[in-house]
């Protein structure tokens, strides 16, 4: 707790609590208004959005609960850019800004930020903002998983801090440009409407709070909320033994040069109550869309840091003061301007797993084995006479790593995805020309261990009409690793079976693969790594696994003392 508080005597602990509850409730209200009115599954099912209140310096006052975990206090750069461009005096009530500039935001261009200035007594006091994943942003990519691009200009329309509304009046030119350059403009414009309404709602609410308590008091309370989060986080970091911890892993390849693995190297330094996460030795940026700007590297570090230090606290600026991120320009987490960013988040699950792995020796009771390690999903697209252009997207769960005290969870979305839901089979079959043939747990995919890794899933689509598919699996060469003697989880892959009798193919990565009616694609997702020596698994748990079919009789052999002894 800093001395600054002495100059802000208004921070009565009770008022602080009132403000703390209120600012998060407003962000949640914004999220509800966005999610319920959204037009694309990336928002209403995948929850690929975040909403929040931002101060004039771009700091996160509060953020909604339940959005995508990797959107961690990263709306600020968009607001900073708007302020730099228009000046603090350059905003009027009724303005709405739109922003997805790759160089500034560091994420793929589908992630579009809308923001509104908030005025109180005629004075600009803050911004409300949200970021949401538009289903399409034009350019060469359709759906997700494309490896086709090598520079940002092929990836769609860029908008840098433009006013889509000025003092309440719509900019029809910009509106028309958006409408004419995107594949599913009705979805994009519908989502934009929902985003704008969400920002305006947040602005109204925050204004009410300022009217009730006064600006100085509210801002002092916010500072206090940050200080409290910071103190709680530092206490946890302080309990981690000081030291330098590092770990390395790698991604399969960049999807274009299939021979070269991509190195993920992290060094974590803990000194007192500060943690530094150093990405200096990360793979250089790639000639593919597997790159992010700095916000990608910062997001990866922050997710790992938050999970370890304050998983229960609401997200705000104070949660990350005790974290330093060392991230020189030019790595694949800090790509230079112009780099393709289409798969900006693909490396993050592995980055986070690797940070956790580095810290496992220091925090043996708090780190699980590696999880499925990718953000897997599928995109099928095409058009039929009855339906017109269609794009089916779905997100897959997989196994999570065994834990120091229990088995890992099955069939769950990655560490980068929180309240992200898979798409119901019945819904997909109502909307799209496919029959799903099976959706099941994948036996034997959980890494062996005293505490077993969770299971991946198997999901098989049969096409009823010709279409194309993007497949983009990761971590197939370096499986989800075990910890403390546990074995690896099964890796991701897909199998394409052709109705015309052509031989079936195993596919790990591919963009725009053509399919005919009757062809099928089976996706198998990774299991989690095991924790602890498999020979120590309780015999009752093992018997139950076999009875339930989670482990086959062949898989059971991994749990005998002999087999386990033979493992490295």
């Amino acid at each position: 707790m800093t001395q600054a508080r002495e100059t802000q005597p208004q921070t009565h602990p009770i008022t602080v609590e009132v403000v703390r509850n209120a600012i998060v409730a407003y962000a949640d209200e914004m999220a509800n208004a966005l999610c319920k009115a959204a037009y694309n599954m990336m928002i209403y099912e995948v929850r690929d959005y975040c909403c929040g209140l931002i101060d004039l310096q771009g700091r996160m006052i509060s953020q909604n609960r339940g959005g995508l975990p990797i959107f961690l206090a990263d709306l600020g750069v968009a607001v900073e850019d708007a302020v730099a461009r228009w000046g603090l005096g350059g905003f009027l009530p009724g303005d709405v800004l739109i922003m997805n500039h790759g160089e500034t935001c560091g994420q793929h261009l589908n992630n579009v930020v809308l923001s509104c200035p908030v005025f109180h007594n005629g004075e600009l006091v803050a911004f409300t903002a949200n970021r949401a994943h538009w289903v399409d942003i034009g350019g060469a990519r359709i759906g997700f998983g494309s490896s086709a691009t090598t520079e940002i200009f092929a990836e769609g329309l860029q908008m840098r801090s433009l006013k889509i509304y000025e003092a309440g009046k719509r900019n029809d030119t910009l509106w028309q440009i958006i409408n004419d350059n995107l594949r599913f403009p009705e979805a994009a414009l519908g989502d934009m409407r929902a985003q704008i309404a969400s920002c305006q709602l947040g602005a109204r609410r925050y204004g009410e709070l300022l009217t009730r308590y006064g600006r100085a008091t509210v801002e002092a309370c916010i500072a206090r909320v940050w200080d409290q989060a910071d103190a709680a986080v530092r206490k946890v970091v302080g309990e981690i033994p000081d030291g330098v911890y590092s770990a390395e892993s790698f991604l399969d390849n960049d999807g274009r040069d299939l021979e070269t693995p991509l190195k993920i190297k992290v060094t974590v330094r803990v000194a007192g109550s500060v943690m530094s996460i150093d990405f200096s030795e990360m793979n250089p940026q790639t000639n593919s869309p597997i790159n992010s700007g700095r916000s990608g590297g910062i997001a990866g570090a922050r997710v790992a840091f938050k999970a370890l230090t304050s998983p229960d606290l609401d997200v705000n600026e104070g949660c990350f003061r005790a974290l330093e991120v060392v991230l020189p320009e030019g790595t694949m987490l800090s790509a230079r301007p112009g780099a393709a960013l289409g798969l900006w988040s693909i490396a993050l699950p592995t980055v986070i797993d690797t940070i956790l792995k580095a810290l496992a020796p220091a925090l043996p009771a708090k780190i699980p084995a590696a999880h499925k390690g990718d953000m897997g999903g599928c995109s099928f697209y095409g058009s039929t006479p009855e339906r017109g252009r269609f794009l089916l997207m779905n997100i897959f769960g997989g196994g999570w790593g065994g834990r120091p005290h229990e088995d890992g969870e099955d069939a769950s979305v990655s560490v980068c995805q929180g309240d992200v839901r898979n798409s119901p089979v019945e819904l997909q079959e109502i909307r799209y020309p496919f029959i799903v043939e099976s959706h099941s747990l994948r036996g034997d995919s959980g890494g062996a261990g005293k505490h077993r890794g969770g299971l991946g899933v198997e999901l098989t689509y049969r096409c009823l009409a010709p279409c194309q598919v993007n497949i983009n699996f990761e971590r197939t060469k370096l499986p989800p690793w075990g910890l403390a003697g546990g074995g690896s989880g099964g890796t991701n892959y897909a199998v394409i079976r052709h109705a015309d009798g052509a031989p079936e193919r195993k596919v790990l990565k591919g963009t725009q693969i053509p399919l005919k009616a009757g062809d099928s694609v089976a996706f198998f997702t990774a299991g989690g790594g095991g924790y602890g020596d498999p020979a120590e698994r309780a015999r009752g748990d093992l018997a139950r696994d076999v009875e339930e079919g989670f482990i086959s009789s062949a898989g059971k052999a991994l749990y005998t003392a002999k087999a386990a002894a033979g493992k490295p």
Binding site: I14, P69, R193, D410, V457
Partner: protein, 685 residues
């Protein structure tokens, strides 16, 4: 006619009835092992004679507790081939985004009791693979040999065509007549396989236990020469017959909390309040619900248990938002010096520190006592003296020392934080539906509701609070006013522009036929129920739909202009935007059937002129309101003695046998001619 309502809660069994023209009440401890005994005792305490009763209404936590405690039947699940794991996989989501040790819902059926039938329908309900009934026969035999007590059957797309489920159900029922068998289409004809499977499995899982209990209760009642009707309270805010409750117990999960909101709705109608918020604060939680034109909002589905790992239940349920701030919620300080209240509760045993049973954890009731808001000698009708010194010690030790604040300031902080948390919940139920809390009134009840209601309302500028008669047992009273209610749904996804009006009419006709069959089973006279038609609509491309009332079963024909206009207006109201030029889609068609009670005994009592008891002497004591340093000398009044038409201005404390009403300085109270208290809140300019 003599009627009673009995609400079995976790701790207490409450009874409110109308016997020989008089309102009777009783409160007794719940006996979890034999709930029928609690019913019997409450009837005895209220001097309610079984042969003299015309109707018995009942709500119980037995179904929800069976799930929360995982004490249900040995249950099997039958699915479509290839989809055995739908129930275990669920939606794959992690609500607690940063929790590396998260838990997702655990199925109520283990995998080795999950079987696959070889059959498949497409989304249009056409058979791609006809059902293999020989395979089902073999499964049926295996279930018998495994000692399975209940079976849930949920096939893909059975909402569109239930033929395969019916065929499988016949085989299973024939082979194992004693098993409790639930087919998904019998309780929910709506798409989304995981949620439908979960709802079906819940029904099967609680079925045998609930059905046995209801059977025992009915036998007890009949043995006591009870000759009247037995009805169960259900989550949708209505009641159902005992026979239906025994096959569809999943629909009685939230029976108790819902009844209070039904009562609040009736009171709102009596007082002519179009928009109000029901606020019910009990021992462990506070609950609130938006009530428009006398009817609480009903939502499709919720999660039973913890939001991250609970079981989804997709049937209609009165939309109640619950927060973990009840009279017994514990106040605590975190490592960073933040003061919090709840969600952990001290329960009834050991209870608050002031109960003097040795608890050292300060709770909201302790704070209320230290602030002079609660009378230590009149708690629970004087049945339990409260220990103010013990409350002060607990607050000082757990809050005062860590924060470096004096005890009364801590107590005021605890009350304020609880009031803020509740006010955010109350605001959420209104603003989620696009209603401004400033345009509403609050109807407050539950043991602790009247004590905190005014502060909660003030926080979000609700201008008027109403405290009904009998606020402490208001939920049991609400049961006496609930209508018989049935909900029917059928999924129909498609563009409204190209919708075949004949198809919509056919579906509505089928729903109406089902409705009439249920009426016949329950002895509801033809013409005795109201049919309300709805369509879930959305903009093409959206996922979430809004439920739009239709003027009749033919409202979707001829362009459906009225339904479209209603949708755009509702979208604007809820989300602050609409797009009149865009195409609309239907998602589900619904029919809600309700039959109001033949009598209006309880409503009449709500509207009965108020007669005060002989006047009681007014006293005074020091009560702390907004300033922990300066108490205000406050009038203490006895509610039963306040005459109709009386008005007074706060500060004041109004006490009654099972509740305490706190009136803040400047607020103005009026006793209505029917005995309810109306509090007009004074807002400084």
């Amino acid at each position: 006619m003599n009627i009673v309502g009995v609400d079995i809660g976790g701790t207490f069994t409450d009874l409110v009835g109308c016997v020989d023209g008089k309102i009777v009440t009783s409160k007794t401890s719940t006996t979890p092992a034999d709930p029928t005994r609690g019913v019997a005792e409450s009837l005895t305490l209220a001097h309610a004679d079984l042969p003299a009763l015309g109707e018995f209404l009942h709500g119980s936590t037995i179904a929800i507790n069976t799930v929360l405690e995982r004490k249900g039947a040995k249950t099997a699940l039958l699915t479509t081939k290839g989809f055995r794991d739908v129930y275990a996989i669920g939606r794959g989501n992690r609500i607690e985004a940063f929790n590396l040790f998260f838990h997702r819902p655990k199925p109520l059926v283990p995998r080795h009791l999950t079987f696959e039938a070889n059959e498949r329908l497409n989304a249009a309900g056409e058979a791609l693979i006809p059902i293999d009934l020989q395979g089902v026969e073999a499964i049926a035999r295996e279930l018998g040999s495994l000692g399975v007590e209940a079976v849930a059957v949920c096939f893909l797309h059975s909402y569109a065509n239930p033929a395969h489920e019916r065929a499988a159900g016949e085989v299973l029922r024939r082979a194992n007549p004693k098993m409790f068998i639930t087919l998904s289409h019998e309780i929910l004809r709506e798409f989304r396989e995981y949620e439908r499977t979960s709802t079906t499995a819940l029904n099967a899982y609680v079925g045998p236990r609930v059905s046995d209990y209801l059977g025992t209760l009915e036998t007890y009642m009949r043995a006591g020469k009870f000759a009247g009707g037995l009805r169960m309270m259900r989550s949708n805010g209505g009641v159902m017959s005992m026979a239906q409750a025994r096959v569809q117990p999943v629909s009685m999960m939230e029976s108790g909390p819902v009844a209070g909101m039904i009562g609040a709705g009736k009171l709102a109608l009596h007082l002519g309040i179009a928009r109000c918020i029901g606020f019910d604060m009990g021992g462990t939680t506070a609950k609130c619900s938006l009530i428009l034109n006398g009817a609480p909002a009903v939502e499709e589905g919720y999660v039973i248990g913890d939001p991250a790992s609970g079981q989804p239940m997709q049937l209609p349920v009165v939309d109640i938002v619950e927060v973990g701030t009840g009279g017994g919620s514990i106040a605590w300080v975190d490592g960073a010096g933040g003061l919090h209240v709840g969600p952990k509760s001290a329960g009834a045993d050991p209870g608050p520190a002031c109960y003097g049973k040795g608890s050292l954890e300060p709770v909201i009731t302790d704070a209320d006592l230290v602030l002079g808001r609660v009378n230590p000698h009149r708690f629970l009708g004087g049945g339990m003296a409260l220990d103010t010194a013990a409350a002060e010690r607990a607050i000082a030790a757990k809050i005062g020392i860590p924060l470096g604040l004096p005890v009364r300031e801590c107590a005021l902080g605890i009350a304020t934080i609880a009031d803020t948390a509740m006010s955010l919940a109350v605001r959420a139920v209104s603003v989620d539906k696009g209603v401004d809390p400033r345009d509403t009134a609050m109807i407050a009840f539950g043991g602790a509701g009247p004590l905190h209601a005014v502060a909660v309302a003030r926080e979000i500028f609700i201008p008027r609070v109403i405290i009904p008669k009998l606020p402490g047992t208001f939920s049991a009273l609400g049961m006496l006013m609930a209508s018989w209610r049935q909900d029917f749904v059928r999924t129909l996804v498609g563009s409204l522009d190209t919708l075949d009006p004949a198809l919509a009419a056919k579906i509505f006709a089928e729903l109406a036929a089902e409705a009439r069959a249920q009426m016949a089973r329950d002895g509801i006279a033809a013409g005795g129920a109201e049919f309300k038609y709805f369509a879930d609509l959305r903009y093409a491309g959206q996922e979430h739909a809004l439920q739009i009332p239709l003027r009749g079963p033919d409202a979707l024909s001829g362009g459906a202009a009225e339904a479209r206009a209603a949708f755009h207006a509702e979208h604007e109201q809820r989300y602050g935007q609409a797009a009149a030029e865009e195409k609309l889609e239907t998602v589900n068609l619904r029919l809600v059937l309700s039959a109001a009670r033949a009598d209006t005994i309880a409503e009449d009592w709500l509207a009965e002129p108020w007669t005060a008891e002989a006047s009681a002497p007014e006293t005074s004591r020091h009560v702390y309101f907004s300033d922990a340093e300066k108490p205000l000398k406050t009038r203490i009044l006895w509610r039963p003695a306040l005459p109709a038409g009386m008005t007074l201005t706060g500060p004041a404390v109004i006490e009654e046998p099972n509740s305490t009403i706190l009136i803040h300085p400047g607020d103005r109270v009026t006793v209505t001619d029917t005995g309810h208290l109306v509090i007009d809140i004074h807002f400084p300019d």
